[in-house]
């Protein structure tokens, strides 16, 4: 695995790592010396005199923070190395796999609804949540034939789902907003040694268990057949190792929050610095991870004006160049391509009939959304004479239909061009780019109005699109290339999302409004915007239908396409661009998140639609139906309050998506070869 990341001469990476850690240490010493005379350091560490605040700051804030950074980074490094080895997946890591999100979610849920679960400290619910996700991921991976990319994408989807549920929790518990945002951004500030003392023994136990697992794990590095021949119980070893990684990640998430990408980067840097064998990697990945997080944290505190940025968020941002580099190498090695989608199951008996039913259902749903609703006197059916109500409702209904069509077509295009069944518009990073644009505006110019906010969203989406296009053009765009675009987009999305979270924490009262938009509300749609949305949806649908030949041929592979005189690379690029543009428009209008782009095409394929034209129309109708229903429910479930349509669709839709993911077996299953 990951041989593509090995570097010929490990001296340079070693030197660079050493210099970084030395810089961090230098900064720490400087800060410590500026706080407290050196001769008082030891007494301040042993028992800081409460009467001397310098000793307290040195012994209870500066030093514990440095130690926590080292411990948390090491735990994540170890967890990352274990994940990557067990899944044979160079991109696996607790944050990427959604394990940290699971821990965080369980913690939020426990804090809000089950405080009793916290009786034994935050570690218990955190581990439960992390372990649950880990087992889910593992059951996917062990299904056999599931590609690394598919696993990473499912993990990222779980991560997005976690963020949505956190947003839902915050809507009903506003006082927790700052706390949850701080958690998501990973703040390392300390006020004593509790966190360090909590982490240290657990990390030590992790090392011990990892040491016990080294021999079986080394054999796991061989092919499955070879390892089985040696009498290994593969499943058990994998499960244990994965639970260990989840435990480490959960412990970190419980104490300092989500710290992205350290666990992903550290093992690769360790390898680049010459740690080739597993036992070397299991030793050096934690060391590199700890050093990296420590240095990042120290540098962050030393740059004037940046001290308020939580370290977790900063480390994600700093990892971006490393990640892009990593993905280039993986793409170039060409071995990590995601699998093609198999042929659908038995074709639908009467596709035209099903399609007609879908369209009729959409018409009924639209009528219900327009005319029926909770009012001051309970449930009401409006007459067309109640004009202002209809005047407010139709832009939302039309907007929901249009956005549903846009994301469903985008999802279908992505799934067809990448051949990856978990490909979803949320994973392009375009949505998070738009979210970042809006939050940035809210912080820089708090008084800007709604129209400016739309422009900012568009600018953010375009920026993400540009980066994505750059990634796509930087290499040949074969099947692996499309995967690379998806992975790059997903990574970009996590980073942008993290940044937006960070900015949200600074947006004051406005944060809630931003959060509502970011979770997909149709509330701010004006009649003219709704008409624009409808126009865009129609255009995208027509363009998608016009590309039906490509959609039919691309899944068959580039050779077939070339044989038919169609340049596969250019076709893919065009379709990806169309998908990204559709996502961008939908995002700007109704916010970035919903799993409809993932769900609608999947459901349609499961229903047995085969030809691109039928599939696309059915998917678009399904998408519109789902989003219209979610919007209507969101407006009426907790009248006079409202739940954003995208959030509702996510909360209801994600379990369905995971169920689809887990239930399909055989040739049509996710990522089956």
């Amino acid at each position: 695995m990951g041989e593509g990341t090995a570097i010929r001469n490990p001296a340079w990476p070693r030197l660079l790592l050493l210099a970084t850690v030395a810089l961090g240490a230098g900064l720490l010493l400087q800060r410590a010396a500026a706080t407290l005379p050196v001769e008082l350091w030891w007494p301040a560490l042993r028992a800081p005199a409460e009467s001397d605040i310098r000793q307290a700051v040195f012994g209870l804030a500066i030093m514990p923070r440095a130690v926590v950074a080292l411990l948390a980074g090491a735990a994540l490094g170890l967890a990352g190395a274990l994940c990557q080895h067990v899944l044979r997946n160079p991109l696996a890591e607790p944050t990427v796999l959604g394990v940290s999100a699971g821990a965080q979610l369980a913690l939020i849920a426990a804090t809000l609804w089950l405080p009793g679960a916290l009786a034994w400290g935050p570690g218990v619910p955190a581990f439960a949540g992390a372990a649950l996700v880990a087992l889910l991921i593992l059951s996917l991976a062990l299904r056999g034939g599931v590609s690394p990319g598919a696993i990473v994408l499912s993990g990222l989807i779980l991560g997005l789902y976690g963020a949505s549920l956190a947003a839902l929790a915050v809507i009903f518990h506003r006082d927790y907003l700052t706390d949850i945002l701080l958690w998501q951004a990973g703040a390392l500030d300390q006020t004593g040694w509790e966190v360090a003392f909590y982490l240290a023994p657990r990390l030590a136990a992790g090392f011990l268990l990892a040491a016990l697992l080294i021999r079986p794990l080394e054999l796991l590095g061989l092919s499955d057949e070879g390892a089985q021949g040696l009498g290994l119980r593969l499943g058990l070893i994998r499960t244990l190792t994965f639970l260990l990684a989840a435990g480490l990640a959960g412990t970190v998430a419980a104490t300092v929050g989500v710290i992205g990408f350290v666990g992903l980067i550290a093992p690769h840097l360790a390898r680049a610095a010459g740690a080739r064998r597993l036992r070397q990697r299991l030793l050096w990945s934690p060391l590199v991870g700890g050093g990296l997080l420590f240095a990042t944290d120290q540098i962050l505190q030393s740059v004037p004006g940046l001290g308020f940025i939580p370290t977790g968020a900063a480390s994600s941002i700093l990892s971006l160049p490393l990640l892009l580099w990593l993905m280039r190498r993986l793409g170039a090695s060409g071995e990590r391509s995601l699998p093609a989608a198999g042929l659908p199951l038995a074709p639908a008996q009467r596709p035209a009939l099903i399609l007609a039913c879908l369209l009729a259902a959409l018409a009924v749903m639209a009528a219900v959304a327009l005319f029926a609703g909770h009012g001051e006197q309970g449930w009401q059916w409006l007459s067309p004479a109640d004009s202002p109500f209809l005047g407010w409702r139709w832009p939302r209904v039309l907007g929901a239909i249009s956005a549903g069509v846009l994301v469903a077509v985008a999802g279908l295009l992505l799934q067809r061009t990448t051949g990856n069944m978990m490909a979803s518009p949320e994973l392009l990073g375009v949505s998070q780019g738009a979210a970042l644009g809006v939050t940035l505006l809210a912080v820089v110019a708090p008084s800007a109005d709604g129209a400016t906010a739309l422009l900012a969203a568009m600018a953010g989406a375009l920026a993400a699109l540009a980066i994505l296009a750059g990634t796509a053009l930087s290499g040949r765009l074969g099947r692996g290339g499309a995967d690379r675009v998806l992975l790059a987009g997903a990574t970009l999305g996590s980073l942008f999302g993290g940044l937006a979270t960070l900015l949200l924490a600074m947006a004051g009262a406005r944060a809630m409004a931003l959060l509502s938009w970011m979770t997909g509300s149709t509330a701010q749609l004006t009649p003219s915007l709704a008409l624009v949305a409808a126009g865009c949806a129609a255009a995208v649908l027509l363009l998608g239908l016009a590309a039906r030949r490509w959609l039919a041929i691309l899944p068959l592979g580039p050779e077939t396409a070339a044989g038919l005189g169609l340049p596969a690379g250019r076709g893919r690029l065009g379709l990806l661009t169309l998908a990204a543009a559709a996502t961008g428009v939908a995002t700007v209008l109704v916010g970035p998140l919903s799993f409809i782009g993932l769900l609608a095409p999947r459901l349609v394929v499961l229903a047995g639609f085969r030809t691109p034209v039928q599939t696309m129309i059915a998917a678009a109708t399904t998408g519109a139906l789902l989003l219209t229903a979610a919007d209507w429910l969101g407006r009426n479930l907790i009248y006079p309050w409202a739940l954003p349509a995208g959030l509702l669709a996510t909360v209801l839709g994600c379990p369905v998506a995971l169920w689809l993911l887990l239930r399909r077996r055989g040739p049509e299953g996710v990522g089956a070869r």
Binding site: A61, T178, G391, A523
Partner: protein, 265 residues
């Protein structure tokens, strides 16, 4: 009139006008106590997505909405004339901003005389508080909301309301900043160690009742803070840092009370 903007609702109540509806009314009653919102005032739903249909049914003659709101003004205009309330002081000090928004609402509601009266009374009260500050001897002040972990604190100041009130009281903000555009910054608890003389004013949220004590219990750094050791800590109850003149005075009074007990202690 109805208010989707909390600042607008607070100002209207100060002018003796009870809104027919307020966005997020339940949470408003938790966070804003001065002046109190009558229990009978219905909830308009969340301020980020108010329920237009309920708003319509309430037949307001005016709708107040935050200037930054993404709610479509044309939709609101079908219900009633819309007045946009600036949410954050820009350039102006927080105090002048608060009096300015009140006067502005006074003229919109044709209650200029009432507005003048309220502002004059507020100026009088803040001047009296300023005298008490001078008598007790001013201290620098941290104003913030401690995170549930007890490891971070969101501090207020800068061009926000708190910054303005501290200025009027002749109290220096103990945190040098920088603050975000809305007047907040989230920092580590060790930031409170910089000014040993300062008093610390913490917002105590109703949801965390008993929570503040629990948050700082066993927090070694908190116990070591000079301000804490001197007992210069005050809890701000029922307080919202993005409110108007009523919130400002409510805060100023609590701040001066803490100052006086700190000076005595």
């Amino acid at each position: 009139m109805a208010s989707i903007a909390w600042l607008g609702a607070e100002n209207a109540l100060a002018l003796g006008v009870t809104p027919v509806g307020v966005a997020d009314a339940g949470y408003y009653r938790e966070r804003m106590v001065s002046p109190r919102l009558p229990e009978a005032v219905p909830d308009l739903g969340p301020f980020w997505e108010p329920n237009l249909e309920r708003l319509f049914a309430l037949r307001p003659d005016l709708v107040l909405v935050d200037a930054w709101s993404v709610i479509d003004g044309a939709k609101l205009a079908r219900i009633a004339p819309v007045e946009r309330v600036p949410a954050y002081p820009q350039g102006k000090g927080g105090w002048d901003f608060a009096t300015g928004t009140l006067r502005r609402l006074g003229s919109v509601l044709q209650r200029e005389a009432q507005a003048r009266l309220v502002v004059a009374e507020a100026e009088q009260r803040i001047a009296a508080l300023r005298h008490r500050v001078d008598a007790a001897g001013p201290l620098p002040a941290y104003v913030g909301l401690i995170a549930r972990t007890g490891r971070n604190i969101t501090l207020y100041g800068g061009s926000g309301l708190i910054g303005g009130v501290l200025e009027r009281l002749g109290l220096r903000n103990a945190h040098p900043g920088p603050f975000s555009g809305v007047g907040t910054v989230t920092v580590g608890l060790d930031a409170l160690a910089r000014e040993p003389e300062a008093m610390i004013l913490c917002i105590d949220l109703a949801t965390a009742s008993g929570g503040f004590a629990r948050t700082v219990a066993g927090n070694a750094l908190w116990r070591s803070l000079p301000s804490v050791r001197r007992g210069r800590v005050g809890l701000l109850s029922g307080f919202y840092p993005f409110g108007g003149l009523g919130s400002a005075l409510h805060f100023a009074e609590q701040a001066v009370r803490v100052l006086e007990s700190s000076a005595r202690g």
